[in-house]
């Protein structure tokens, strides 16, 4: 009640200021009158009485001030007044305001944008029930692992998953899922959408409630369910089904089957994978129905299900791991199916399951980009510091102009605290404007960051809406900035002893020298931080350049990858090779195509496979594990990889002729039988669907990159596609052609349709795929370059400000020197020399910082060491250049000083 009445009283006083003021005057007057009357009564003369009463009262204004300060509303008034003054000052100097707001906006915006992405990717948990309880279950180590991994995340096979689901007592609940692509037919038009295989209990375990209809239960995921219903995501329902509530129960054609839509997931749930959303979810048991080729439900060599478990209430990770440890032998023994290679059984049975915490779900985006993003955040932080230094300098300049005003007020009784408070409040509007524009900028920057990270065929979906963490971060940043650039000048401005400040003449006393030192110190810090940023930018740019020009061993330009799906044609296995050959020949005959050939694994696509190989006649132990690929004849010609010895595959190599292989130089080196292994025979261990086989090496090719541009050359064995014992109805063909893309693709589609219109065709440009694989390097080069340029610009502005101020200060001195005979050029060069000194000092301070920072990014670099002297020299040179350019105008001004004018004015 007291608070409330105080509040009301205060509010009323705010609106009755004049009345309150006159009341106070009246009360004080009344006091003095009563006191005077009393003294008269006691025998003083009227004059003495009045004087004594007045002396007792003291300064009426001071008393009124004390009375007022008992009330809270004065503080509000003062705060409001300071704020208005700040706004007026900003409006009066629009140039300063524009520069300051822009500086702040860039600094805060860059930091917030990067933090937003980090927050969405790293710091947020999944929008599910108790995400902290979720763990990821996977193999402890992959020694001797065989098979085919379908997803980027750790995965188990379906038999393994089913055993864990049915027999585990370790977790309170478990779930499994796998991302996939599903073909949706809309009209007569087929589209690929993002699909998700999920276990029956998936939504229940995550605590996701349907927005419409119902979601899966465990009875939806039973053996032999076939193509039963599907669940769609909220965004899919809105965009593809028009948000129509009648969509529940209607059918959707998925993979050629008409299935009912059972329900819609809630808005905001985008699946367990951060960075990707899903459109359609189907139960795991229906995998065999939608995919005509390849039933993974009963396979021990198809690892495709990501399994997660919820810890027991009160349970811990170590308890869960102990439970998994004891469950493992039974799990692997029971999950073994016929297709697992016999040679690797022992390794299989020794596998162990292990669990890791996964409250944020899984994210390829996070795994790949987390460290670059943190590094970028650090760099952006440096930029913000540089921006703050600029603002501090600007405020210092402003503050020094008001030194007199503060001196007067200090001597009149104002406290330092009050003045500093006022200065801080005055900078508040600037801060608010800057932070607001920074937030806006961050929104736009964040979106372009996401666009940068999306690649062809893999569009990124990250929920960037600002949550409390981001807003809190921005607020913290803004406060920190304000304190940095507001407090120091405030302290400086009020430090001067009033008597010093009041001396006549412009303030050129000793206090100024200290302020100069502070200014120079700030600029030196700016240069030092800029050195870090510019060096980083140079290093990342060189890394990207190195990767773009590295010799990959094949040509990258003018290559098109065509993916063909022949499954609709229902070709019997025996005829498939012939049909595929016919299609490749057709493609070869397309006018404008110079060469075409099949390939099993496109280089640098991220896929890989390997197996054990040893020389014929020796034993398995002496061998090693090269990578494998399957190629048609003409592959090396298509990709421009020279055949160094022997021959390429040709029409004589059929499934019935002796098995042949080609190898690269690195393989020959590892085999250790001389530089030219053509003619030698090698044994390959049994693969999931093939027995142990002997191959004769018929050709030797130059080394080429297999999976990653950064790798050292690995040994590769190429097998003939034409000798494929078990061909599937899919094919990838790489074509070399100089035709423009639209013409090429339309001609290819024509040629394929000529064979049969039921073959679906998909295109990817090889060069774009390679560029996409360099995504994180491109990201770092682009962003660090942007930040480096920003830093250099801000430092230039800072240097300009400081040198400008110095010149103004020294106008008098320059005038004297010129009067005594100094020439314009001497003055110019002395100013430039001083600037260079400042810059060099900054570079000197920045060198050790740069050394330590660049050590942190060593793992991200390629072909260049973090302490590369050329990079450092370039950065230093660039900064010197920037400094000289910034000082040029003030230096010219100094040289243009007219001695007479300079000596005349004070």
């Amino acid at each position: 009640m007291r608070l409330l009445s105080n509040l009301i009283y205060g509010l009323r006083s705010l609106f009755r200021k004049a009345a309150i003021e006159s009341e106070m005057d009246e009360e004080l007057r009344g006091f003095v009158d009563a006191s005077t009357a009393d003294k008269l009564h006691r025998g003083m003369t009227p004059d003495q009485a009045i004087r004594a009463a007045r002396v007792e009262m003291g300064s009426a204004n001071a008393v009124k001030h004390h009375i007022r300060s008992a009330a809270w509303e004065t503080k509000v008034e003062i705060f409001w007044r300071d704020l208005c003054y700040g706004v007026r000052m900003l409006l009066r100097s629009p140039g300063f305001t524009a520069v300051a707001v822009l500086t702040l906006a860039l600094g805060i915006g860059a930091n917030t944008a990067i933090f937003q992405l980090l927050d969405a990717v790293r710091l947020r948990s999944l929008p599910v029930r108790n995400p902290g309880e979720l763990t990821l279950v996977h193999l402890a180590d992959l020694q001797g692992w065989r098979g085919h991994q379908d997803t980027a995340y750790p995965a188990l096979t379906n038999p393994l998953w089913e055993f864990v689901r049915d027999h585990q007592h370790v977790f309170s609940q478990v779930l499994a899922w796998s991302p996939t692509n599903l073909g949706i037919t809309v009209g007569d038009h087929q589209r690929l959408v993002q699909g998700l295989w999920v276990s029956g209990d998936f939504f229940n375990v995550l605590g996701v409630r349907p927005a419409l209809g119902r979601l899966f239960t465990s009875s939806d995921d039973r053996p032999g369910c076939g193509a039963s219903g599907v669940v769609v995501s909220y965004t899919f329902w809105q965009s593809q089904l028009g948000g129509n509530p009648q969509a529940i129960g209607s059918t959707l054609t998925v993979g050629g089957h008409a299935v009912p839509i059972l329900g819609v997931t809630p808005n905001g749930f985008t699946g367990p994978e951060v960075g990707h959303s899903f459109d359609v979810a189907a139960p795991i048991c229906s995998q065999s129905a939608y995919w005509t080729e390849g039933n993974w439900l009963d396979s021990s060599t198809d690892w495709w299900l990501t399994v997660m478990g919820r810890l027991q209430p009160g349970g811990s990770l170590s308890m869960a791991n102990a439970g998994l440890e004891s469950l493992s032998p039974a799990a692997f023994a029971a999950s073994l199916r016929k297709d697992y290679p016999a040679e690797n059984l022992r390794d299989y049975l020794h596998f162990r399951l292990v669990a890791d915490p996964a409250p944020g779900g899984v994210s390829w985006l996070r795994d790949k980009y987390e460290s670059p993003l943190w590094m970028l955040l650090g760099l952006a932080g440096f930029v913000l510091l540089i921006a703050c230094a600029n603002l501090a300098n600007l405020m210092l300049a402003r503050g020094s102009a008001r030194v007199r005003e503060f001196a007067v007020r200090l001597s009149l009784g104002a406290t330092k605290g009050r003045l500093i408070c006022q200065l801080l409040w005055e900078s508040f509007p600037l801060l608010l404007l800057g932070a607001a524009s920074g937030l806006l900028l961050a929104g736009a920057l964040g979106k372009s960051l996401i666009a940068l990270l999306s690649t062809q065929g893999d569009s990124l979906f990250v929920d960037l809406h600002p949550d409390w963490r981001v807003l809190g971060f921005t607020a913290m940043l803004a406060t920190f900035t304000a304190l940095l650039f507001g407090l120091i000048p405030a302290f400086r401005a009020t430090r001067l002893a009033p008597s010093e400040a009041m001396k006549s003449g412009s303030p050129r006393a000793g206090g100024m020298r200290e302020s100069n030192r502070l200014r120079r110190g700030l600029v030196i810090t700016q240069v030092a931080l800029s050195l870090v940023l510019v060096t980083g930018a140079v290093l990342f740019a060189r890394t990207l350049a190195n990767l773009l020009t590295v010799d990959a061993g094949f040509r990258e330009d003018n290559i098109l990858i065509t993916s063909l799906d022949l499954s609709q044609l229902d070709i019997p296995v025996a005829r498939r090779l012939a049909v595929k050959k016919e299609i490749v020949d057709r493609l070869h005959d397309v006018p404008g195509v110079e060469a075409a050939s099949q390939v099993g694994i496109v280089p640098l696509s991220g896929s890989s496979t390997s197996n054990r190989v040893w020389a014929e006649g020796e034993d398995r132990q002496s061998g090693f594990d090269p990578n494998f690929n399957w190629t048609g004849n003409g592959y090396f010609k298509t990709l421009g990889t020279p055949i160094l010895a022997g021959r390429d595959f040709d029409q004589h190599d059929t499934p019935n002729s002796p098995m042949v292989a080609m190898v690269n130089q690195e393989f020959a080196r590892r085999l250790g039988k001389g530089a030219n292994p053509v003619g030698l025979r090698i044994r390959r261990e049994a693969a999931p669907h093939e027995p142990e086989t002997v191959f004769e090496i018929v050709g030797l090719v130059k080394n080429s990159k297999y999976r990653d541009l950064r790798e050292q050359f690995v040994p590769i064995v190429y097998l003939a596609s034409s000798q494929d014992q078990d061909p599937n109805p899919f094919e990838q063909v790489m074509l070399h052609s100089a035709l423009p893309l639209p013409i090429l693709t339309s001609r290819i589609k024509l040629a394929i349709a000529g064979k049969s219109p039921q073959i679906s065709v998909d295109f990817r440009v090889f060069k774009t795929q390679i560029r996409d694989s360099l995504l994180s390097e491109r990201l770092m080069a682009a962003l660090s370059g942007f930040l480096g340029i920003l830093a250099a610009l801000l430092t230039a502005v800072g240097l300009y400000g400081v040198i400008s101020f110095l010149v103004t200060q020294r106008t008098h001195e320059i005038g004297i020197r010129m009067a005594l005979g100094a020439g314009k050029r001497q003055v110019l060069s002395s100013i430039l020399r001083e600037t260079l000194m400042l810059t060099l000092l900054g570079i000197g301070v920045g060198l050790p910082i740069t050394f330590s920072v660049t050590r942190l990014i060593a793992s991200m670099l390629f072909g260049i060491k973090p302490s590369d002297p050329v990079a450092f020299a370039l950065a230093a040179l660039a900064l010197c250049g920037v400094g000289l350019a910034a000082a040029y105008i003030p230096a010219r001004r100094a040289a243009a000083v007219d001695p007479m004018t300079a000596l005349r004015c004070e």
Binding site: M1, R2, S5, N6, Y9, E23, E26, E27, L28, G30, F31, D33, A34, S35, A37, D38, E56, M57, G58, A62, V63, H66, I67, R68, S69, A70, A71
Partner: protein, 107 residues
């Protein structure tokens, strides 16, 4: 601290006690404190009036403009119920403190 200032922290208590007798204006409070303390304490308006304003904000006293004894307008302060309670609390605390000091000084 001047020679005749009240003991630190007791001003509000003394004002409350003064007002407990009857409502009075600011000058009246100052006069009464000086008289009853027989000249030991003397409160100047620079401390008294702000103290009164504070106490009014705290809800311990209330004020109204009335005609004074010589027929001029003056601001009269009076205790509120809350103020009475505050007075008894502060008086109790003060008495406790004084007895303790006395015990120590006589030991």
């Amino acid at each position: 601290m001047g020679q005749r200032d009240v003991v630190q922290g007791t001003l509000e208590m003394l004002i409350l006690k003064t007002l407990a007798l009857e409502p009075i204006h600011g000058y009246g409070v100052a006069t009464r404190i000086e008289q009853v303390s027989q000249g030991v304490f003397r409160v100047n308006p620079g401390s008294l009036l702000p103290a009164l304003a504070r106490m009014e904000r705290a809800g311990n006293v209330k004020s109204e403009w009335r005609a004074s004894e010589n027929n001029r307008r003056a601001k009269y302060y009076a205790l509120t119920a809350r103020g009475r309670k505050a007075l008894s609390q502060e008086a109790a605390t003060w008495n406790r403190q004084v007895s303790a000091i006395a015990r120590i000084m006589e030991a």
